[in-house]
Amino acid sequence: MLIEKYKSEIDSILSRYPVKRSALIPLLYLAQRDEGFVSEAAMKEIAVLLRLTPPQVYETATFYTMLNLKRVGKFHLQVCRSLMCALAGSDTVIGWVKTRLGIGPGETTADGLFTLSTVECLAACGTAPMMQANEDYYERLTEETFDRILADLKKDGTCSLKTGPFMWPEPAPVKDET
């Protein structure tokens, strides 16, 4: 049960809104964090917490692409395929996933490590091609960086190539005046 495990976090979420239903997406995220996806049991529990009917929870949950109603791999690779990334070669990135991991969009590797999804614009058009792996952005992908990201994710669960606070172009390096 979510309520037993995350009592104080749920209370804090509920305290932000004058109307309970507003807490629905935050609670669905919480359920997803807990189980890796949003399960039917979690949706039923959330319905009770927010005094909604299960269909009210379900209709919201099914609208949003970031809420996974099915289990996904440990690393969810989301490659942007919108025009701006496509101009910079996002179809090639999808090809790299296929050759390295043997999966296409919507598929998961047999070991359950990687799921590939193609997604629409993630607001990183100036640093295309890009992908999001779980919560992190990886931008200006090349074959070399892509391979390193896969290797690091497998080995360490994260990769130092992820984008920090975003700024592009980066400011010019400070010139030494002396």
Binding site: S22, A123, C125
Partner: protein, 435 residues
């Protein structure tokens, strides 16, 4: 030295600037708030914003002061401010930079707006993918609360402005202000029928203002330096101030460039963004995000302000400028954008829901060299039956790529269809598309 004075990106361009409260205060941050809160009557702030000519930076370009002025006078009861940080228009990535590099600039703008409109609660609706941005904002809010800039007793004045971050969950349509409100209420992000407008019936049916991140970030500067200063930048009287343009596609230096409104596309693409990446000539560009009709090299001298781009047959929109070089297949480009709109149609209005599926199907057939000449009429017919017939502006947006590429590059469509006819490969597509 950059050619133009930076306003919004100035702080973050300083070496070592981290966006912390300390850094922001050192560059004069929260001075605008100190100057007015509890001292200047709120209507005067609205007057200042009105005088500055500030227009919404999200896409529609509605004058911010006018929007604030629509709130009912003397209304007793809660009213809300929503900061639109959904940034989902393809080609746009400026808000992400403002949020992650200088969050306090936005927070100061939010508190100023709350004070001006009398809102005690503000929600920052940030797109779900910006996990880092949401974390940075939450941390900045905590810092500002401790310093007394946000909370129940701002700077000891007894005035309340609480700010919360609310993450979306992956839906383009939630950048539309009424869909954003629905989503914030925990529902599917379906745009509302207007009127009534959010100013009177917004979040929880209460008076609400929805402003874009970049719009709000301008407020501290307008208060500090005065509306006359702001109104003198750009192309007054209708397009004042700077804009952060996001350049993507086939240029040497893609990225965010802040310039006064009214510079030409030529300057933005060839000076700021370094010109074409492989010195192939420019073939086409989108001036204001995926919803804006394509323009051609003949439009390079058009000025980047609301009126000039509209006069050229497109729109300044969200400021996302996507550049395509010679050799780009324009029918393919239009299809890619159409696939985006098909994926993101919320499904509320049938012309958009069904029409987007038909458009994608017809476009795919043409690109696969299985098109027929009458497909071109079908495309136009479909577009005309979507445009203006939907609850929100999505319908108008989704027909823009097809209508504008048909207008400027019709021969490319015809060539593909001729190739199909020559190969005699015409087959009928299944009539039903899986949505």
């Amino acid at each position: 030295m950059p050619k133009h004075e930076l306003i919004l990106l100035k702080n973050m361009m300083q070496p070592g600037y981290t966006g912390s409260l300390q850094d922001y205060e050192r560059t004069g941050g929260y001075q605008a708030l100190r100057k007015v809160v509890g001292k200047v009557p709120p209507p005067e702030i609205t007057g200042t914003v009105l005088k500055s000519g500030l227009r919404g930076r999200g896409g529609a370009g509605f004058p911010t002061g006018v929007k604030w002025g629509f709130l009912p006078k003397g209304y007793q009861g809660p009213r809300y401010l929503c900061c639109n940080a959904d940034e989902s228009e393809p080609g746009t990535f400026k808000d992400r930079q403002l949020i992650e590099r200088d969050p306090h600039q936005i927070l100061e703008g939010i508190v100023l707006a709350c004070y001006a409109i009398g809102a005690e609660s503000a929600y920052i609706y940030i797109r779900g993918e910006f996990v880092l941005g949401a974390r940075i904002l939450e941390q900045a809010i905590a810092e500002a609360q401790t310093a007394g800039y946000i909370g129940t007793n701002i700077l000891g004045t007894g005035i309340t402005a609480n700010v919360w971050v609310h993450r979306g969950a992956g839906a383009y349509i939630c950048g539309e202000e009424t869909a954003l409100l629905e989503s914030l209420e925990g529902k599917r992000g379906l745009p509302r029928v207007k009127p009534p407008f959010p100013a009177t019936h917004g979040l929880y049916n209460k008076p609400t203002v929805v402003n874009n991140v970049e719009t709000l970030a301008n407020l501290p500067h307008i208060i500090n330096r005065g509306p006359e200063w702001f109104a003198s930048i750009g192309s007054p009287p209708k397009s004042t101030g700077t804009r952060i343009f996001c350049v993507s596609g086939h240029v040497k230096r893609p990225g965010n460039y802040e310039v006064p409104m009214g510079v030409t596309f030529h300057e933005l693409i060839y000076e700021q963004a370094g010109g074409m990446r492989s010195d192939k000539p420019l073939k086409a560009f989108i001036p204001g995000g995926a919803s804006a009709p394509f323009l051609t090299p003949n439009h390079l001298d058009v000025k980047l302000d609301f009126e000039s781009v509209a006069a050229a047959g497109s729109m300044l929109g969200s400021g996302g400028v996507t550049v395509m070089e010679e050799g780009t297949d324009m029918v393919w480009a239009a299809l890619r954008l159409m696939e985006f709109f098909y994926h993101e149609s919320c499904g509320k209005c049938s012309p958009c829901r069904e029409g987007s599926a038909w458009l994608v199907q017809t476009m795919r057939r043409i690109v696969a060299k299985r098109g027929r000449m009458e497909d071109l009429e079908t495309l136009v017919d479909l577009c005309k039956n979507i445009e203006g017939r939907t609850v929100c502006a999505f319908g108008d947006a989704e027909v823009a790529p097809i209508m504008s590429t048909l207008k400027h590059w019709r021969p490319e469509y015809v060539t593909l269809i001729h190739a199909a006819e020559a190969a005699n490969l015409i087959r009928l597509e299944p009539a039903v598309v899986r949505h």
